[in-house]
Amino acid sequence: AQTVTQSQPEMSVQEAETVTLSCTYDTSESDYYLFWYKQPPSRQMILVIRQEAYKQQNATENRFSVNFQKAAKSFSLKISDSQLGDAAMYFCAYRTSFSGNTPLVFGKGTRLSVIA
């Protein structure tokens, strides 16, 4: 079974600085998807960024980028120019690409605080 590990339960960053959240995963598959979700106090899960395993290029969405190291099974999220609105729980998630009905497997989450 696939597992996702987030080793940092809590992180903090100064406003306008850069922070990196770590995620590692374990799988025997070669094709899969990786995700970072943000959950603010409103509880709504928001997709931050997604990476297909077959793509070597790291995904980027505005201030959010990933460092995808397939051989190391590592998928870290970098947030640049941190803003107060970035404060939230962040979850790393994995899904096999085999079929659409397979569920997401989540890590335990990292709570990010942004200091003004």
């Binding site: 409103s42 509880r43 659409g100 497997v105």
Partner: protein, 111 residues
Amino acid sequence: DVKVTQSSRYLVKRTGEKVFLECVQDMDHENMFWYRQDPGLGLRLIYFSYDVKMKEKGDIPEGYSVSREKKERFSLILESASTNQTSMYLCASFGGPVGYTFGSGTRLTVV
């Protein structure tokens, strides 16, 4: 905007009660999921469904059951609520280019 709606944001029930948590999606998605979220444990899969009347157990199905009589509705049932089922419950659906869409969660307290 596509939506997954969970009927209650907060719910308080007594030990031993039968509890229904309802989830409705308006995207005609075939796949729906129930997760439980606890601090320090992340989101754990309870059950999922890939079609009407079809269901699959997730990682923590004990004490729960589900019902999917219509495509748009996926219900989570606690047959006899216990205090260790106090948690946040998140519903999600999956389909098409939208991918996964989550509801806003139901925070259930069992007293």
